[in-house]
Symmetry: C2
Subunit: 343 residues, 2 copies
């Protein structure tokens, strides 16, 4: 492996000169620059990351803390990881995955070993010990998803309240008068997850401002319970003509239940998804509010990179930097009006 010395020797200059050519932090004559560049090319030289990091105290690495519920996966997480990595590369950063179940110990290791310059925390939980550990050490971090339990840390989130409200408004605008909103699962609501609470708030807002009949039904993580709640909601008379869904993990099961109830989508029942991404629908032409994964990833990386070199959080009382992303409908997914004019 070629080192900076080899390059210097080959170019007939001092190692420091090579460094200056590469970093551009001092004026170097045209001739020398060309000679050094040639030597770099010929030897296929790459600076050793560890040496650079040791000297400069910058690793150009972001640590991405992925939430882990043992034995349970969410495709979304991996998608975010990929997009976050892409965004980080755009800022000259690499991303290392932190998937340890022992989140706190892992965060301490990251902060202590200097293996990363900042952290991105996905899906912050209610009493997130990881965030607390980071604040304690003053390690720079940014959150993907809001959390009242990590005050002072920069965050990014989809505006779930606006997203649900938008979905309901659009459904009403398409002509529907009796709409069921299937919220997040009960356990997510009682765990006070940000997306669950804000989504619910959006539904209440839309219900209040609209003359249409909007019923809010909590979803469930258990297929049977979900099925029961759904059947009950659809059995109301006059029958609802549209279903707006925020809880997408069991979407296939949901559609099975609808089919089992003898309803066709979208002729008998329009189905609108909130916060979904393409994988969710698997080729089905369902209208939906996009989960802007790429945009959220870019934003959270920008915040994390911006926090590098700072003490990681803002004094209590002040607003940390943040970004609340406006929802929008996925292109090419119109909501089907109800078949017979609602009375």
């Amino acid at each position: 492996m070629a080192t900076i010395k080899d390059v210097a020797q080959r170019a007939g200059v001092a190692p420091s000169t090579v460094s200056y050519v590469l970093s551009g932090s001092r004026k170097i004559s045209e001739d020398t620059r060309i000679a050094v560049r040639a030597a770099v090319e010929e030897l296929g030289y790459h600076p050793r990351a560890s040496a650079r990091t040791l000297r400069s105290a910058r690793s150009h690495v972001l640590a991405l803390a992925v939430p882990r519920v043992p034995g349970k996966y969410r495709g979304t997480d991996g998608t975010f990881a990929i997009d976050i990595s892409d965004a980080a590369r755009g800022h000259g950063y690499d991303v290392v995955l932190i998937t340890d179940l022992a989140g706190v110990a892992a965060m301490r290791r990251v902060a202590g070993s200097g293996m990363a310059d900042a952290a991105v925390l996905m899906a912050v939980e209610e009493h997130d010990a990881r965030a607390a550990a980071l604040r304690e050490t003053g390690f720079p971090a940014a959150l993907l998803g809001r959390s009242e339990d990590a005050p002072g840390l920069p965050w990014v989130d989809l505006d779930w309240e606006a997203a649900v409200a938008l979905a309901l408004r659009e459904t009403v605008a398409a002509g529907h008068r009796r709409i069921v909103f299937l919220s997040s699962a009960e356990h997510e609501i009682s765990a006070r997850r940000g997306y669950a609470l804000h989504g619910l708030a959006g539904a209440r807002l839309a219900a209040r401002e609209s003359t249409a009949d909007i019923r809010i039904v909590p979803s469930s993580g258990e297929p049977e319970k979900l099925g029961r709640a759904l059947r009950e909601a659809l059995a109301a008379r006059p029958a609802p003509t549209a279903l707006v869904v925020q809880h997408l993990i069991l979407l296939p099961h949901l559609l099975d239940e609808i089919a089992a109830a003898g309803l066709r989508v979208p002729e008998d029942l329009a189905v609108v998804l909130v916060g979904s991404f393409p994988d969710d629908v698997g080729g089905r032409p369902l209208p939906r509010i996009e989960l802007p994964v790429t945009e959220m990833s870019a934003a959270v990386v920008r915040l994390a990179v911006g926090a590098v070199g700072t003490d990681g959080s803002v004094p209590s009382g002040e607003q940390p930097p943040h970004r609340l992303i406006a929802p929008r409908m996925a292109t090419g997914s119109a909501i089907r009006p109800p078949s017979e004019p609602s009375s």
Copy 2:
């Protein structure tokens, strides 16, 4: 941030002694060991990763090259990334994501900068330039998925031939006599992807050895084309009673088509999935052959870690280390026998 010098000072010993206590590579008296341990604890000392790497030429990092089709995601990839990270931690390694679209340049950067000790390549494509670049530089690597285009590199794969054969055999054993096998998509087959070819081979094998009527139908990445192929296959008379599916990306659409044809699953048509993982079914009780993500991840990490310190590939002619994983049915998913006895 505490350094080894601080710890040494506090414990009243030389820095080298601290190092020996931590690494255990030399005999140290009980007393000193206790004193050093205490100092480490009190200062919350963590060795600086960059210094360690610089000196020892080992980063204890694996680079995970994620396949990128721009704008296209596969939930599977993220799931593998998480499981690979878990497995790596078990060996004392961290995982950095390499998602660059310019795969070759990224591989060169990884190999040149010493930021990782070995690479794991996911879903190796037909003429994989990344693998070639790695072989060229002699960088240690292991592949997730077989590829004839990366000879000499260690690999891990599900035995897709056995998986498809097993699914068909089990379907026959459940009493089905007329079975449709929906293979990988045409473009995957013509791109000569390993899983597509081996799956097809498994179907042919099962068709040959069984007296049941097994029809092989190629799938498609385009929903409309897939729908046409499926309708045609189901229209055969006497009607098929079971559908074995390897191409899962459009599964929801597939099930819609079945429903649209007026068939109930599984009463009118048993559906069996090959190489799926829980996310695919979203709460549906479909029988399926598991995609052993965790097992594959553990195996590929073991190979990659084993390759650290070697020149990365095996002399041509010799077999590289590899692992072909035997398929098995997911628990709790029996295949429903056909409703009326087949004639």
